[in-house]
Symmetry: C2
Subunit: 404 residues, 2 copies
């Protein structure tokens, strides 16, 4: 019998208890061992929960319990989640987590601490909710050099954009997302791209070994997108998505979050509603994509429990492989100014606009949508894009990057 | 240094040698050990290959070489691949393979033999080419009960169907697939669904533990599909795909291959050309999909090498988890007659056809395409479908199952 403790009995924490209980038979069959929740740390009481009697308010009840060998941290936020994780790893307990904030900020230190203490720190649920992506990147793509990753990493914004593609305004789509419980009353972390930034930082570290700070990467949300942008995207045969992107630029790591037009031929284009997808481009396998529920109680809990199973399956074995992250120094960040990508420019439609566009961008296809004339230009730097737009003498209404 | 032998230096075998050589640095970094090809078994000579000097024609040179601890079988076909695999496992060598025929026919015995000899038998590349799907199903979905799997498992047929959706006839699309090297001169194994049958049998065994025979499952190919079927699918907002499907029916395992109309809201619908996608429905995580190149030299080789890395990473460890297959007895096969699914019926359009359809199928939406009138009926058994079609008194032109 493996005894697990749960830190934080919120949506995901209670989901993990449920997965372990409801799927106990299949887990025991797959693993050859029983796994059960012994204690749950939460400030609240849960008299109506079947797990209510396991709740303690004192972290030491878990830390000092030698029978508890695996701790599942699902508290959210940096503190005390980080501090408790450190204490557990130092005490020789394995830790699994769904907490992207802790992984994105302290993952390098915690992986290092786990290795030093002969235990493991796993975080499959921190990116893409229930979607298997971290373990496949570590194990299945170990034969590959990863070139780049593009991901729809936030279900709330993807729901809003799906509604906008169907004709709703940003404001109405946000209200509907809030009514359905997908968006919080204060939706900033989602719609400003901060949640996606934490996740792309984790994927960048898995790809290239360097853990950037989510605060120091280029991060644009979806609040400035309009229905006119959606219409221009459609006119170019594209969908509109919030994309976390990472690649290496001149040997240094670039990670960024921004809206992108996604050609309908790209498998990310059709990912709708709250679903997530992560498209990994690697040097031998080419493009592979992982798709599924990027959030939600049971999907995310399913990934947490997969990590617990992984840990139990490898207990007592030496030299189990683990990723290693190095905290990025200033010189490890790619120069965003050197990054190039295709862009869609939308200008105010005026007499002679098409000619002015041709004079600067050459013989490109333009589309006219309402009062806009738009084009997709070849890959160029941010500076070149700004200069070229200015050189037209036209009023720039929006510039949206294009995937691929 | 880990010494690997390659059995079969064809497309995938030479790709595996290339992946191990070209990505040697990244593999050593990920693994902490060097992995190199020591011998290659093939009947041919390869004087122009950088690996040509490693070729032997005598299997015993590999079997008796104690330094070779991992054997990668990429010969294709049942014999002698199966026999060599057995010999290697019995001799205490780990075996990895891309050979779906051997896994589908002998997987239960070979997994058992590997377990008895304290070695492993891995076959990530046998389904979905380079796509990580077997290991994620075994590891990441171990917290879940798998409910069903639907997969686009054959790149050749998906290429042909993609061309048909773009307007080409089956014959022209097949010729183009042959010209591009996607289809063989004798394309039966692909277009009749036999290749997909082997793969769905493997996925069924991973899902439910029972290894069915690919010869004993319902298997329909794409040779009877016409452009009219494509048009009817489009009229109902669907794509047309060859789908391998597995689920449990009354506690027994059903696996089947057949064309299906796939609603455009389903992530499998957009998978084009030679790409594959495997959609797994599991009880906690819901639907997850794995997408990528389902064939090809380097993608498939990438999966073979991922298996080699997995083996090397776990060398010397006891009790490494492995799937266990039980060979299906007759009573383990689900009764295909009890299987129900939605279907699209296309009848010859004639006076009063709509009324006759309503009389039998109730108030369903119909579409008229050319000389056809078509409807999608609720889920029913094969027998019910045949009876209802006959009861209309109309001429049935085609019945195509509908996914979901």
């Amino acid at each position: 019998m493996i005894n697990v403790a749960i830190l934080g009995f919120g949506v995901v924490g209670s989901g993990a208890a449920q997965v372990l209980a409801d799927n106990a038979a299949v887990i025991e069959k797959n693993l050859g061992k029983k796994v059960a929740v012994k204690r749950i740390l939460d400030l609240r009481e849960f008299p109506d929960s079947p797990f209510g009697h396991l709740v303690t308010h004192d972290f030491n009840d878990i830390l000092n319990d030698k029978d508890i060998t695996v701790v599942a941290e699902m508290m959210g936020g940096s503190h005390p989640a980080y501090d408790f994780t450190k204490a557990c790893l130092t005490a020789g307990k394995h830790v699994v987590t769904s907490n992207k904030e802790v992984v994105a900020r302290f993952g390098a230190e915690l992986l290092d601490l786990a290795a030093k203490n002969g235990v493991r720190y796993l975080f499959e649920a921190s990116v893409g909710g229930g979607i298997p992506v971290i373990r496949p990147m570590v194990n299945d793509l170990a034969s590959n050099k990863i070139e780049k990753v593009d991901g729809i990493l936030n279900g709330t914004t993807n729901y809003i954009l799906t509604q906008m593609i169907a004709g709703a305004t940003f404001e109405d789509a946000l209200k509907e997302a809030q009514a359905k419980g997908y968006a919080e009353a204060n939706p900033a972390a989602d719609v400003e791209g901060l949640d996606a930034a934490r996740k792309i930082v984790i994927l960048a570290a898995l790809s290239f070994g360097t853990l950037l700070s989510p605060d120091q990467i280029h991060c644009e949300g979806i609040t400035k997108l309009t229905l006119a942008d959606v219409e221009v995207a459609k006119a170019f045969g594209c969908s509109l998505k919030l994309i976390g992107h990472t690649e290496q630029v001149a040997g240094r790591v670039l990670a960024m979050v921004s809206p992108r037009m996604v050609p309908l031929t790209n498998p990310l284009s059709g990912i709708a509603d709250v679903f997530n997808g992560i498209l990994v481009d690697a040097n031998m396998v080419g493009e592979v994509m992982f798709y599924g529920a990027g959030a939600g109680k049971l999907p995310t809990a399913s990934a947490v429990v997969a990590d617990i199973i992984d840990i139990v399956a490898h207990m007592g074995q030496d030299g189990v492989r683990a990723p290693k992250f190095t905290v990025a120094a200033e010189q490890d960040y790619a120069d965003f100014g050197a990054y190039t990508c295709r862009s869609c420019f939308s200008f105010w439609q005026e007499d002679g606009a098409a000619e002015k566009i041709t004079a600067v961008f050459g013989d490109v296809k333009t589309v006219t949508v309402g009062n806009r004339i738009a084009l997709i230009a070849d890959a160029m730097t941010e500076k070149e894009a700004a200069e070229k737009a200015a050189k037209t003498g036209l009023t720039l209404l929006s510039r949206i990057r294009v995937l691929g």
